[in-house]
């Protein structure tokens, strides 16, 4: 029996060692003695996804200034990637000691789910108090709004505030435009004429690489936006009024893409080229234009200052209004139940302040709010101008893949077939509509 006791001891010892090890391994801060002399000290916990070096720099600067302006406040910031936030936000925000402020992805699967679980603070009163509603166009406010049950996006209360903007449009290589004798087109007709002219000058008109799928969505949406109005797109994205994807405008946009494939306007063999490779190729002269988002601008300016410009896809008629796919960063939200709600709102206001906008602009990132900038790279000036136009006229269009949870997979797979000329534009639209109709049906049940 003594042997039994002996082994029991060994086992307990081993467990004890494991138990002894684990806190030391996981604790990140050294244990500090409590400071009773400073009872006013407040810690604001912030989770954001500002991980890239430029973003991180701006965030650190803003936080240092925030702390200086709010004595006794300490911001405890944890930064992570988009994907990490996606997987951690739900658990984090449901914990009693979770973050006070977190940067949440819009859409049903993230913000919607959190609203449904009653984990986010309604920011509508704060938006009025701090004037956020004046900085954001109605379309942007709608995107960050949900009904309190989390079931309907685009109406109800505001649950998040974005800080920076992104917009999709046409980047162009100034040298190639000059060589082909083309200037920035004012109508879609001129745009297509430019494609032909560039092609006959021996230059690839549209630099393209679709191995990673999503690029099709941007090109399609830019053409589609010329022929649809805000009411249709809003209804489609927010699942209202039983609209369909199977409309003539979408068939025509899909047909236009096939036409451009047949005419050889895209980079040859684009189906086998990844997105990052394709952006790198564009920067080093792989084509005259690239239809993509403003996120490539920072590095493009750094690598080839002055060489590139940007314009929004021109409307059918000169001066006409049309939406353009765009959006904002994911949104800063406040955890329901935090003891520091007021302070958290002040923090969000700090992140969308004019000072913040200025800092973003200096780094070549388009801020949500208005900002005056001089002496920036012409590409960045183009982007600022385009964003101000879209935001002021409420013309910021949606990313189509927000329509349903499975929409991205469906539309990307269908695009691959469309662009390989394996299906007709009509079949393409029917395939995508099948996904959309199934979603509407399941939602209305």
């Amino acid at each position: 029996m003594s042997r039994f006791v002996c082994s029991l001891l060994v086992v307990l010892l081993v467990f004890g060692m494991l138990a002894g090890c684990s806190p030391a391994a996981t604790t990140q801060q050294p244990a500090e003695p409590a400071k009773p002399e400073q009872p006013q000290q407040v810690t604001l916990k912030v989770w954001d996804i500002l991980v890239s070096p430029t973003e991180d720099e701006v965030a650190k600067q803003l936080i240092a200034e925030f702390e200086a302006a709010h004595p006794g406040v300490k911001v405890e910031r944890e930064t992570m990637t988009f994907d990490q936030m996606k997987s951690r936000a739900k658990l984090g925000l449901s914990a009693a000691d979770g973050p006070d402020v977190a940067q949440i992805n819009q859409g049903y699967s993230d913000m919607g789910a959190l609203v449904a679980a009653n984990l986010l603070v309604d920011l509508t009163p704060y938006a009025k108090k701090y004037g956020w509603d004046k900085k954001l166009s109605p379309g942007i406010v709608a995107r960050n709004s949900f009904t309190p049950d989390g079931k309907t996006m685009g109406e109800g209360n505001l649950y998040g505030v974005p800080i920076t903007a992104e917009l999709v449009g046409v980047f162009y290589n100034k040298e190639y435009f000059e060589k082909a004798g083309v200037s920035v087109p004012k109508t879609f007709g001129e745009f297509e004429a430019a494609l032909e002219k560039i092609k006959s000058a021996g230059i690839v008109p549209i630099n393209y690489g679709s191995l990673d799928g999503f690029v099709h969505i941007h090109v399609f949406a830019e053409i589609q936006n010329l022929k649809i109005d805000r009411a249709y797109l809003d209804d489609f994205i927010y699942g209202r009024n039983n609209v369909s994807f199977n409309i003539p405008a979408n068939v025509e946009a899909a047909a236009k893409m096939q036409e451009w494939v047949k005419k050889g306007y895209f980079t040859p063999d684009f189906a086998g080229i990844g997105y990052d490779d394709s952006v790198a190729a564009f920067r080093s002269g792989g084509g005259a234009m690239m239809i993509t988002g403003s996120w490539i601008s920072g590095d493009t300016i750094a690598q080839a200052p002055g060489k590139f410009g940007f314009f929004l896809m021109p409307p059918l008629q000169e001066g006409g209004k049309r939406m353009s796919t765009g959006g904002t960063s994911t949104a800063f939200a406040i955890r329901k139940g935090t003891a520091n709600e007021e302070l958290a709102a002040q923090y969000i206001d700090w992140m969308v302040s004019d000072r913040a906008a200025q800092l973003w602009a200096e780094k070549g990132v388009v801020p949500v709010g208005k900002v005056e900038v001089q002496n920036a790279d012409p590409l960045f000036m183009d982007l600022l101008k385009a964003w101000a136009y879209l935001n002021e006229n409420d013309l910021v269009g949606h990313y189509l893949d927000w329509a349903t949870p499975t929409f991205y997979d469906t539309i990307v797979a269908s695009f691959a077939e469309l662009m390989a000329l394996k299906i007709t534009p009509e079949e393409f639209v029917q395939k995508v509509e099948a996904d959309y109709a199934a979603y509407l049906k399941s939602r209305n049940q």
Binding site: F4, L8, K86, A116, D269, I273, P405, A416, K422
Partner: protein
């Protein structure tokens, strides 16, 4: 020493390992099985569905297509990798070779690389414009064969499959090398005296002698083919269309991208069952063969 107390203390020593195994393996498995019977988005409370997820899976054309792609990957991961591994193993042992260690290490090399690295490297090799493959084809006048391999509906699966073969054959080769070195050289001597040629020696001595290694290689490569995720994720993400979509990739998208955790759990359970069934039959094959050889 009292025998019963010896037994008891033996179990006691197993306890820590059992606890860890229980917490990190058994419990999650049971949890997965439970979630597979529910509709759960990963956040709000799961609703119990019974077997509905499984019934939906069998009607889900995308899932069926993904499973069929897994079957195709079995050809590249198992069949082709084993044939290639066997070929190199025989080649390396058939005659004393200068720099044998170098060749062995070189041929084994792909196996030790992280699959993400392998995927990235092959993405470059397959790049339509500057990729090595198309460059070589154009250089030797076969430019008409050059294509966007990973983006081509007809070729993407084969292209990814070949990467899989490349990553797997090294393991089979090392297994067979070890096996061949265990076969008594007297058998080969006797066969040669009887006038057996290279092929006959392989067929009648090497192959039967490698039976156990073959079964091990078969089980582990089959499991790898059914679980395949990393290579597809890095190279094509299942595209173009659903041409290279595999069950593991579909599981990932359901669980972590579109929040259908219950449905994803059902895929996980089905894959596990599939792997268990295949392993069971291969192991039974091994046992019956052993019984035959002892009889």
């Amino acid at each position: 020493m009292d025998r019963s107390s010896f037994n008891r203390s033996a179990y006691l020593y197993l306890l820590p390992a059992l606890a860890i195994y229980g917490i990190f393996v058994l419990f999650p498995i049971l949890q997965t099985i439970y979630y597979s019977l529910t509709d759960w988005n990963g956040l709000t409370a799961p609703t119990f569905l019974g077997l509905q997820n499984y019934l939906n899976l069998f009607q889900d054309a995308v899932f069926i297509n993904a499973l069929l792609n897994n079957l195709a990957f079995i050809f590249f991961y198992s069949v082709l990798a084993i044939v290639l591994g066997m070929f190199f193993a025989v080649l390396l042992t058939s005659a004393p070779l200068r720099g044998m260690t170098f060749y062995r290490a070189g041929l084994f090399f792909p196996q030790v690389m992280a699959s993400v690295v392998i995927g990235m490297v092959w993405r470059w090799i397959y790049h339509p414009q500057y990729g090595a493959l198309n460059q070589v084809l154009r250089a030797v006048g076969l430019g008409a064969w050059a294509r966007p391999w990973l983006g081509d509906f007809d070729w993407a699966l084969t292209a990814v499959g070949i990467v899989g073969t490349w990553a797997q054959y090294g393991f089979c080769m090392v297994l067979f090398l070890a096996g061949i070195q265990n076969i008594s050289s007297a058998l080969y001597d006797a066969a040669r005296i009887d006038g057996a040629g290279m092929f006959q020696q392989f067929w009648y001595i090497t192959l039967p002698g490698l039976r156990n290694q073959l079964l091990v290689a078969l089980i582990s490569t089959l499991i790898a083919a059914i679980r395949i995720f990393d290579l597809v994720f890095v190279t094509t993400r299942g595209g173009p269309g659903y041409a290279t979509l595999v069950a593991g990739m579909y599981l990932y998208r359901n669980a972590f991208v579109i929040n259908r955790v219950g449905y994803a759990a059902a895929i996980a359970v089905l894959l596990t069952i599939l792997i268990l069934i295949i392993s069971y039959f291969i192991l039974r094959l091994q046992r019956t063969q052993e019984e035959e050889s002892f009889a």
